[in-house]
């Protein structure tokens, strides 16, 4: 079998062997879970949602926001200099959403009924909106990435058919993403009285959406930096700088809104109560907002050229900040209302590791065999083993 006229390649490296190991464990856990239910988790009536919802859904969707943001920047805003990151971003978003879908399926107690929402609408439910958007957006992403896949498989006509759909797909994708990225926040509007006031606000949808728009390009930056190291790509400075600025401005907007909201709702004293909850909130704000914005604006105001290190560091901080924010909403902010403690079981942890491993393996496979990176020539490309080692 050939792709792009060449033989399929998949280099074995120790890193990949570990990932395959995780993936095999993952398959076993999945099989066991599908048959035996959620007994293997540490979920309880007090903690109906745990690690899977947090990592596989909340975080996964937020970090996969790079797909619609970069696509939007490139296609809609017409910023051509980010071209090099668009295809990898769409690929990671597509894989991300597939994994999110699978993670959600694992979390569903009656997973065999995953299709029920299509026919039985709970239109008052944010979850319904989220489900529909994620479902449609996954299809949209599949279509967006389809040209690369079909081209690789030699089906040029199919590929060009999907290529012609790109514009409506991207616009539809942004619309769908706007809805469900904000919905991840709206979901917690219903927890008024349960979710700690440091996080509960009617602005949750806007905060979630804006942080996703900021963290999407940041995540793309991280991925590009990693992929660049593995595959020895050149650092596309104009594209990366553009994304860093984008994230910086949007994160500024988010931070102003977030802190302003806390101030308006009179939560600033609670923010500095210095108990576990407030410390977690401060940590989230410092890592995700204050530090990256400090770096960003100091470069910006001094008129300095942003270096690769600074861009990547900022991106990493933002990703961590958003991870903390989502985790705080799911766990820290709900802990008091739950009145019990939760720590994921081994099975929960390994299913999550496995899911991520599978994602990385598929990513590596596609990157090595399909035309994802612009100047990519898989024959000449050094194996990731060398890069890794």
């Amino acid at each position: 079998m050939t792709i792009n006229g060449t033989r399929i390649t998949f280099r074995m490296t120790p890193f990949r062997l570990v990932l395959i190991g995780f993936s095999l464990i993952f398959v076993g856990i999945v099989a066991y879970r599908l048959v035996n239910g959620l007994q293997m988790t540490n979920l309880t009536d007090a903690w109906p949602w745990g690690l899977w919802i947090y990592v596989d859904v909340k975080l996964g969707v937020a970090l996969a926001a790079g797909g619609f943001t970069t696509a939007g920047i490139y296609y809609v805003l017409g910023v051509k200099k980010v071209k090099s990151v668009v295809k990898p971003a769409i690929l990671t978003a597509w894989l991300g959403y597939c994994l999110v879908g699978f993670g959600l399926l694992m979390d569903l107690g009656r997973w065999y009924g995953w299709w029920h929402p299509i026919f039985s609408w709970g239109e008052h439910s944010v979850m319904f909106e989220l489900y529909m958007c994620v479902l449609l957006y996954t299809i949209v992403l599949t279509c967006e990435f389809a040209p690369v896949l079909f081209k690789g498989l030699g089906l040029r006509k199919v590929s060009s058919f999907f290529t012609r759909l790109t514009a409506p797909l991207v616009i539809g994708g942004i619309a769908l993403s706007t809805m469900h990225q904000s919905s991840l926040g709206s979901m917690y509007v219903l927890t008024l009285g349960k979710l700690n006031e440091l996080w509960w606000t009617m602005l949750l949808p806007i905060l979630y959406y804006s942080s996703a728009v900021a963290v999407g390009p940041a995540m793309v930056t991280c991925e590009t930096a990693l992929a660049g190291r593995f595959f020895r790509h050149d650092w596309d400075a104009p594209a990366m700088t553009y994304l860093a600025k984008w994230s910086g401005y949007v994160m500024t907007f988010y931070t102003v809104l977030r802190v302003g909201d806390l101030a308006v709702r009179g939560q600033l004293t609670a923010l500095f109560a210095l108990d576990t909850v407030s410390l977690m909130c401060l940590l989230e704000l410092v890592i995700g907002c204050l530090l990256p914005l400090w770096f960003f604006w100091s470069y910006k105001l001094l008129g300095r050229e942003m270096t690769q290190t600074m861009i990547v560091r900022n991106a990493v901080l933002m990703v961590l900040g958003v991870a903390l924010n989502r985790g705080n909403v799911v766990f820290t902010g709900m802990a008091k209302a739950a009145g019990a403690s939760y720590f994921p079981s081994v099975a929960e942890l390994f299913l999550t590791f496995g899911l991520i491993s599978v994602g990385i393996l598929i990513y590596l496979f596609i990157v090595e065999n399909f035309d994802v990176f612009p100047a990519h020539d898989q024959q000449a490309a050094p194996g990731p083993a060398q890069a890794h080692g």
């Binding site: 299509i118 026919f119 012609r164 409506p168 539809g172 619309a175």
Partner: protein, 582 residues
């Protein structure tokens, strides 16, 4: 697009969904129509939305419309064909007793059940067996006048006299005694401990029923043999302490009568109450009932302990001393027809022997088993009670008279007291007519008698069994007292359970009340033992009792007797808001 916005919030569509939930009395066809209408709207909405979003894209618009139209249609079709029905709501697949399935606010007459504190020492309930038939509540309220006779909200107690009639009435066995078998087996298995057991008068005519014998079968000797096989070191008879009770209670009665007549006995220790009538105190359910509802009449309560507790305290003093056993090594078990006895044994003040020996932790009676529990123990051990060779009770506390055994039946304590009271008042044994005091026998709730005692005059007595019946007498006595009238009676016997101990809350459930047949058979056997089987019929002739006084206690109602055989009572009216009517 306005239509879409509307359909999101519109009550009309919501109504349609809700209607679908109501399956009872709904036609399926109607539901299908509702559903199809809804889905078609949905599909159109999707089309509408996509049309707008793809405006101005000539190359893909048609394809998009077609594709989404097809998807929407197939969704609608799938829904129409019943792919996704709301299905049955959760729950409601079980049953409740017919009485509760009445429509609307129809007043259910017999409903619910009695409350039982999980810490109740006497009775427990297994919810798995409860069918909410309401029989326990019937027994508690209508027979015993406990439930419903206190106001709500409750205080910090679930009012319960521990009588166990609810357990006896319970048709499914959901309510039973708190099972102490395991604890008793553990002490029997401990070789260092000297485990003694006493059996109440009413056990010997009832336990046979558990082994297929006719109602009222007298199995005294077989029961003793079984207890010895079970490993008890000594088997004593509560009849012994029933005779002892008569000596004490009779003496107390005469003291009260004389005090009322202005005479004072030299051995009066100043703390003996003088109120008449005197109430019997053998039935712990009755005692607690009086403490709850008639604390103002507690001065009428005989200060004598019940026979169970008397034997318990004598065992750890007199018996221990005579046999040279450390009281701490003695474990005292009793077999009772009664669940309230478990409560009685656990009362704080029931530690006379220990208190006397300076070890107040020591209980006079350690464990109380009901007749039913003993039957279970015997069955588990594989002992065939019916075919055992009878054995006698052990000495020192094994002798009993007919006057003691009739304690088991309502009126029996009264009759026994009259027999010995006659002797104490006149110095002579009663005439034969007084040995069969039929006026106080039988299942009638309240009985009265009046007898002529030479040199004393008229002795007026009354007997009540079942606390609802007791309440009638008590209200009368209370009213008389408040009106300053002279006492109507000299002596009143109260038994918590209707018919007395023979149908106590711990007896075999061979015949679930309210049937009287088994009760009557048991009572007949009790009087048969008194009349024909035992050699003696008078408590003051019990040789072992007389020895106890001679060798250890001294005089009835004497100093030591008071410390070991008499007790005090607690006003429990603060634990509830008593009401006269349910």
């Amino acid at each position: 697009m306005r239509r879409k916005g509307k359909s999101f919030g519109a009550g009309a569509r919501l109504g349609a969904i809700e209607k679908r939930a109501r399956r009872v009395g709904r036609k399926r066809r109607e539901m299908a129509r509702d559903r199809s209408a809804r889905e078609i709207i949905s599909a159109e909405d999707v089309d509408d939305m996509e049309t707008k979003s793809n405006k101005g894209l000539p190359c893909s618009r048609r394809f998009f419309l077609k594709g989404l139209g097809a998807a929407g249609l197939s969704g609608a079709l799938a829904t129409l064909s019943g792919c996704k029905d709301a299905g049955k709501p959760s729950g409601g697949e079980g049953w409740t007793p017919q009485q509760y399935n009445a429509p609307g606010s129809w007043p259910v007459q017999v409903r619910g059940r009695v409350p039982i504190d999980p810490a109740n020492p006497s009775i427990v309930r297994d919810d798995r067996k409860c069918i909410l038939c309401g029989q326990c509540a019937e027994a508690c309220e209508r027979v015993q006048s406990v439930e419903g006779f206190y106001g709500l909200p409750i205080k910090n107690d679930i009012t319960c006299v521990n009588c166990g009639q609810c357990a006896l009435w319970c048709p499914t066995g959901a309510i039973g005694e708190r099972d102490d078998i395991a604890r008793v087996l553990r002490v029997i298995g401990d070789a260092k401990l000297h485990v003694i057991v006493q059996t109440a008068p009413a056990t010997r005519i009832a336990i046979g029923e558990e082994f297929g014998m006719p109602a009222g079968s007298i199995v005294e000797g077989k029961m003793v043999a079984a207890l010895k096989l079970l490993g008890f070191d000594r088997v004593f008879d509560t009849n012994f302490s029933a005779d002892l009770t008569i000596m004490e209670e009779g003496t107390e009665l005469i003291g009260r009568i004389k005090a009322a007549g202005g005479q004072h006995e030299s051995e009066d220790h100043g703390h003996a109450p003088t109120a008449l009538p005197q109430f019997t105190s053998c039935s712990p359910g009755w005692v607690k009932f009086c403490e709850y509802f008639y604390p103002d009449l507690l001065e009428h309560m005989s200060t004598c302990k019940s026979p169970q507790q008397m034997l318990g305290s004598v065992a750890k003093t007199y018996y221990a001393k005579k046999k040279g056993i450390d009281p701490k090594q003695i474990v005292s078990v009793s077999i009772m027809p009664c669940t309230a006895k478990k409560f009685e044994a656990a009362r704080g003040e029931m530690n006379s022997a220990g208190a006397l020996a300076g070890n107040p932790e020591l209980r006079d009676v350690n464990f109380v088993l009901t007749t039913r529990e003993l039957a279970r123990m015997i069955k588990r051990k594989g002992i065939d009670l019916a075919n055992l060779a009878p054995q006698p009770y052990d000495s020192l506390m094994g002798e009993g008279t007919g006057a003691a055994v009739i304690f088991a039946a309502t009126g029996g304590v009264m009759e026994a007291a009259v027999r010995s009271g006659y002797y104490l008042l006149t110095g002579q044994n009663p005439p034969d007519a007084l040995l069969n005091l039929t006026a106080v026998r039988g299942l009638q709730g309240v009985k009265e008698a009046s007898l002529e005692v030479p040199g004393f005059g008229e002795l007026r007595v009354a007997v009540a069994s079942g606390l609802g019946n007791a309440r009638q007498l008590l209200d009368q006595i209370r009213a008389d007292k408040q009106a300053g009238l002279p006492p109507r009676y000299h002596f009143v016997e109260f038994m918590a359970c209707p018919g007395g101990c023979i149908s106590g809350g711990g007896q075999p459930k061979t015949s679930v009340p309210p049937g009287d047949w088994v009760r009557k058979e048991r009572i007949r056997s009790i009087y048969a033992i008194d009349a024909t089987i035992y050699k003696k019929r008078l408590s003051h002739e019990n040789k072992e009792v007389l020895d106890l006084y001679a060798e250890y206690l001294g005089q009835p109602n004497g100093e030591l007797a008071h410390r070991l055989l008499h007790t005090t009572y607690t006003d429990r009216s603060g634990s509830l808001t008593a009401k006269n009517k349910a």
